[in-house]
């Protein structure tokens, strides 16, 4: 659920400062940008002043001498060009800084996501996490690129213009200062009103889109229950609300944006003209000063307009920022390892001691699980969906933290091994092997650059994946599309096997694929599995009982408990749950009736 966000002024300020704190690492670039900005601003201020000199010293007295005018003209055009060039670099610099800041923010968020525990991923939809990493940071980028840059540039220019005005005429400049509180008042009023109305419109728009998206996906239901008219009406209502909110925005914009700023401009103009008019009653006035003042006024109001138009972006960025920071402050971290000791996994003996576990703290999905897998042995887990097989693997892989009971490897608590040690010595093959965008080779090697191409091929050969890989276009360099959609699930499984073998783990954790696999690949998978298990302690979830008949120990789980344990033959002889599962899978219909009725 996306909550409505109405942030208090204080929270907004806090978020802004936290965002601004990202500028610290770019001090050097920022100083360069500020120097450039200072120079261009000086250029902006000097140009009208040059014209003033021309008007007052040359034009009004009517003495047009070629030499000084040529110099003046060249200076004018020279400054103009230098200013334009500096301006270009200054713009680019500011944008670069903004982009690097956002990149840093993105990397921070992404790293944070990587450090979170799977519990967080269970409760948060993937789409919303992605949106934090990319879209929200993009909204913040817009603020840095446009809002902050515009504010700083405009601020510099405004200060410069006032300085120039004070140099030209202190009294008049003082008169002009009264514009500032008026402008600030209008800006503040607009910010307050528009943030409210703007949020309202965004809200309506998201309602509108939600309604539309929902109607489109539920159209079959709407039609079969003949509710088209009612829904059209409901949609029309929301649409009308959105229209009204849109009109309100247009009105606020019309009242307080450009028309208002232009109004203030003309009043400033009146002040300037009246001042000169009145002073000219006593003594003569230099025309050039009038020119310069009016020119400065013209330049003064454009940045103000720019700033006002960007205010809504600011609002969005703050909201996005609050969401990003909430993720950065998330405390649902991955289970911690005690990193001080560096013990290695030597034998690969695994013990579960009286382990109980619950995801939500209410319902136990595992109850008092105890078993031992000796080095090199295979322990198979079987049971119906929801019996707790996957939870055992989730705990072994340290995806979730457990509190009751203990998991021991070579007699040491699993918590005492370092993370790299566990990851290196324990290999997991997931039920739905996830392939990444890239090549087959990339997918076997993952990011482990120390593996040579030879080793990659070796691994593929070991699990017999090379036969189908060689047949692909470009072989090991064959492109893997998103999630490996072009491969069959069996082929994906084989690539995942190769991936695990390339890492050469001491302990193997297998979650067998349930999906239908063609017989040819099936055979390859079975041979590969047998080879992989040799010399490795293996914990395997088996959906097809045929694959685990030679396991050293089979655990039958039901509702989080081990209800039967033993070898294949022992369990068949027992005639219990395992026996029934076995019959079911072997399709021995003629014997069904006896069991069902017996």
């Amino acid at each position: 659920m996306e909550e409505k966000l109405q942030l208090s002024e204080r929270e907004q300020r806090k978020i802004l400062f936290r965002l601004l704190s990202y500028t610290k690492t770019h001090k050097k670039m920022i100083s360069i940008a500020f120097v450039l900005l200072l120079l261009t601003t000086i250029g902006d201020i000097v140009l009208p002043y040059l014209v003033k000199i021309f008007i007052d010293n040359y034009l009004t007295p009517g003495k047009l001498e070629f030499q000084p005018l040529l110099i003046l003209g060249s200076i004018y055009m020279g400054i103009q060009i230098v200013k334009a060039v500096l301006m270009f670099f200054q713009f680019v610099k500011f944008q670069e800084i903004a982009l690097y800041i956002i990149q840093q923010l993105r990397i921070d968020v992404f790293s944070k996501v990587q450090s979170l525990g799977l519990k967080y991923f269970d409760k948060t939809p993937a789409g919303s996490i992605v949106s934090r990493v990319t879209n929200d940071t993009e909204a913040i980028k817009d603020m840095f690129v446009t809002v902050i840059a515009t504010f700083i540039q405009s601020g510099f220019l405004l200060t410069g213009i006032f300085i120039a005005m004070f140099i030209l005429n202190i009294k008049l400049a003082l008169f002009c200062v009264i514009i500032i509180p008026i402008l600030l008042f209008v800006m503040n009023l607009y910010r307050k009103l528009s943030s409210r109305f703007y949020l309202d419109m965004r809200e309506r728009l998201s309602q509108l889109n939600a309604k539309l998206a929902e109607s489109l996906s539920g159209m079959a239901i709407i039609q079969v229950f003949r509710q088209e008219k009612r829904l059209r009406h409901e949609f029309g209502d929301i649409n009308e609300q959105h229209y009204k909110a849109g009109m309100k925005n247009i009105k606020i914009d019309g009242l307080l944006l450009r028309p208002a700023i232009d109004l203030i401009y003309i009043f400033a103009l009146i002040i300037v003209l009246s001042y000169f008019g009145i002073t000219s009653f006593q003594h003569s006035v230099e025309i050039g000063v009038i020119y310069a003042f009016i020119n400065y006024l013209d330049r003064f109001f454009e940045p103000v307009n720019q700033m006002m138009m960007r205010l809504s972006l600011y609002q969005q960025a703050i909201v996005a920022g609050s969401r990003v920071f909430r993720l950065l402050d998330e405390e649902e971290l991955a289970p911690a390892q005690k990193d001080e000791k560096t013990i290695a996994i030597q034998q690969g003996k695994i013990e579960f001691k009286d382990l109980s576990f619950s995801y939500d703290g209410k319902r136990d999905v595992l109850k008092n699980i105890s078993f031992t897998a000796n080095p090199g042995e295979t322990v198979a887990l079987v049971g119906h969906t929801g019996s707790g097989k996957s939870s055992i693997i989730n705990l072994m892989m340290r995806f979730y933290e457990f509190e009751r009971g203990e998991i021991l490897i070579d007699g040491e608590s699993i918590r005492n091994f370092t993370k790299p040690e566990l990851r290196e010595k324990m290999g997991l093959v997931l039920q739905d092997p996830f392939l990444f965008y890239g090549t087959v080779k990339d997918n076997i090697r993952l990011h482990n650059e120390s593996l040579t191409d030879e080793q990659v091929k070796e691994a593929a050969k070991f699990v017999q994946a090379h036969t189908f890989i060689d047949r692909l276009e470009d072989g090991f360099d064959h492109k893997v599309v998103e999630r490996g959609a072009t491969f069959s699930s069996g082929q994906r499984q084989l690539i995942a096997f190769a991936r695990t073998i390339a890492a050469n783990p001491k302990i193997l954790v297998l979650d067998e694929a349930t999906a239908n696999i063609d017989t040819e690949t099936e055979e390859a998978i079975q041979t590969a599995l047998a080879k992989m298990r040799k010399g490795r302690t293996t914990i395997a979830i088996a959906h097809r009982l045929s694959t685990i008949q030679d396991a050293d120990l089979i655990l039958v789980l039901h509702q989080g408990e081990i209800v039967e344990r033993g070898t294949h033959q022992e369990l068949l002889a027992l005639g219990g749950l395992y026996h029934k599962m076995f019959l079911l899978q072997n399709g021995a219909v003629e014997r069904f009736e006896d069991v069902v009725n017996g």
Partner: protein, 583 residues
């Protein structure tokens, strides 16, 4: 500009708003010319020392009047023109929605929800831009530009006007060139951004693999590289974007320089006063916007046209399933007979149903079983006329389905689909979907029949709990039972359950089925199911395979047949045992 013609119907409809809006715009464009002129006049009088108090007061009053008039006029043209454009998007959005509600499932099969959404959002906003900002820039740039040039040429000096206009076309040319470069590099930046998005998406869905192999740092490194690519592509955009203002500043600077240099010469010749020269440079400042706006206008209009074409094409899509003129305006009831020789889905090569001949008396229950893809759901979809175009006929109460008005036919059928879709609304509203005026007693009765009442009472807000995509998440079984309650509320002639009990346990299934048997005396029920226990008591069971009926009869008949049905039945019994731990 063709899009303005295509939008003609709307401009005609809103002609009052547009005509007055454009008129106000023109007034503003003229009023804009006053302040620079006043500046020039006052400056001249100050210069010549001829200024008087009365004159100053007079001009100040003129300026105040102009300022207020412009403020008011500017406010109102915005309301007229921008207001109309918002209205346009409202109208088009309603039209699209209405159109969407008329389209049959065949249409939804070939189009993706995301695309349809894009039409209703992005395209409409581009069209809105055209009708608002597009009209504004067109009128404003032409009028402001025109008036300013006229004022400069006729009231000050046409020679000077020509001279200072020389650099202006270069500005229009350069900015439009930058525009096309910007477009290209922006596209690349967007691509880099979307691949960063994909990368993030992939890392998050593949988080288990990354954690398993301890590859967090490497993956972050990979992310850093990709985000660096985004930065680099965006810097290219920034560089082009940063060309605009300096270019404009240089060209305007040249124009200024020319006007002051030549203006000074005219002043010395006596052709021009200093005040007029100041006015002239102020006018020049007013010209920048129309020049820029013109380049911008093409951009807006281009996007608007493409968007309008897409929306118009969508609105032209034909509605496929319609009523014929003499369709009966009554709700059908009675026997149902399927006589279908063949049915093929549009776009498919193989027929999905062949030689189906089934008849069902009013009040009986039909059970349909078979493997996935055998055609069970399709049989139901033909009954509710989601698809047509089969050879043969389906009769309901002796008449062909097509002889009833679609609305009336569907009034007779309570359909519970396979994918239980709930709306983001309260439980009560979802159950009362067909009849928002239903009383709470009626709603509770339906919920009790569907065996969901007790569950609902457990929810935090009971019947007022919000469910659906943006509400609390329910289990599959709960959703199914709410869908059943929704269909039961209308107490339909025919209840259709399309594998709607798959997610409830055997005990609940039995409870629902027996309450249906008791409460739907004399009414017809059609059930498809994977689980045979759901149809065990049906008056007639048919087994479908590859779109054909391979077995038919009652449960007892079929068990004796020793075929697919019996094997499946035993298999499921055993499965049931295993699920319960073998007991």
């Amino acid at each position: 500009m063709k899009v303005f013609l295509e939008l003609g119907w709307f401009f005609k409809q809103e002609k009052k708003a547009y005509i007055s809006g454009v008129f106000l715009l023109l007034l503003v464009a003229m009023l804009q010319l006053v302040p620079p002129k006043v500046i020039g006049i006052i400056a001249d009088h100050i210069h010549e020392g001829t200024i008087t108090k009365a004159m100053l007061v007079e001009w100040v009053i003129v300026l105040i009047g102009v300022a207020i008039a412009m403020y008011v006029l500017r406010y109102y043209w915005r309301i007229m023109i921008f207001g109309s454009s918002v209205k346009l998007s409202k109208i088009l959005r309603n039209r699209l929605y209405q159109h969407f509600t008329n389209m049959s499932p065949a249409f939804y099969q070939k189009s993706r929800v995301g695309d349809l959404m894009a039409h209703a959002t992005n395209d409409l906003s581009a069209i809105q831009q055209t009708a608002g900002a597009g009209v504004l820039t067109l009128v404003d740039s032409l009028s402001t530009g025109g008036f300013v040039i006229i004022a400069m040429a006729f009231t000050i000096s046409w020679k000077l006007t020509l001279i200072c206009l020389i650099p202006m076309p270069f500005m229009a040319m350069l900015t439009s060139w930058f525009g096309s470069m910007l477009h290209k590099s922006f596209y690349k930046a967007q691509e880099a951004f979307s691949s960063l998005n994909d990368k993030t998406q992939e890392s998050i869905t593949g988080i288990k693999v990354i954690k398993t192999f301890g590859q967090e740092q490497e993956d972050i490194e990979d992310f850093r590289k990709q985000s660096e690519d985004v930065v680099q592509k965006n810097i290219v955009v920034a560089k082009i974007d940063s060309l605009y203002d300096p270019t404009i500043s240089i060209i305007v600077g040249i124009s200024f320089f020319l006007s002051i240099a030549f203006g000074a010469k005219f002043v010395l010749n006596g052709d021009l006063s200093i005040g007029e020269l100041i006015s002239f440079t102020t006018y020049l400042g007013l010209l920048i916007w129309p020049m820029l706006a013109f380049g911008w206008l093409f951009n807006i209009v281009e996007r608007g046209r493409a968007s309008y074409d897409r929306v118009a094409a969508l609105l032209r899509e034909k509605v496929e399933i319609t009523d014929h003129e003499k369709a009966l305006d009554t709700v059908p009831y009675g026997d149902i007979q399927y006589q279908i020789a063949e049915f093929t889905y549009p776009g498919d090569a193989q027929p999905l149903l062949k030689d189906i001949s089934v008849s069902l008396h009013a009040g009986e229950t039909l059970g349909i079983v078979g493997k996935t893809g055998s055609g069970k759901t399709t049989l139901l979809k033909l009954l509710i006329r989601e698809f047509e175009g089969y050879q043969g006929e389906i009769r309901f109460g002796g008449q062909k389905l097509q002889d009833y008005k679609l609305e009336k036919l569907r009034e007779a059928i309570g359909y519970v689909p396979q994918d239980h879709f709930l709306f983001s609304a309260s439980v009560a509203e979802n159950i009362a979907f067909t009849d928002p005026t239903a009383t709470i007693e009626e709603i509770e009765r339906a919920a009790k029949l569907a065996n969901i009442h007790d569950d609902i009472l457990q929810f935090t807000d009971g019947y007022q709990t919000i469910v659906g995509e943006r509400g609390v998440s329910l289990s599959g079984g709960q959703k199914q039972r709410i869908s059943i309650a929704r269909a039961l509320l209308m107490n339909p002639e025919v209840l259709v359950l399309d594998d709607s009990l798959s997610a409830v346990d055997a005990k609940t299934e039995e409870a629902i089925l027996s309450s249906l048997r008791q409460n739907r005396e004399g009414k017809t029920t059609i059930i498809t199911s994977h689980r045979l226990s759901a149809i065990q008591h049906a008056s007639l069971i048919i087994v479908l395979e590859n779109g054909q009926v391979i077995e038919r009869g009652t449960h007892e008949d079929l068990m004796e047949l020793d075929g697919w049905y019996k094997e499946m039945y035993l298999h499921q019994q055993l499965e049931e045992l295993v699920e319960h731990g073998g007991h």
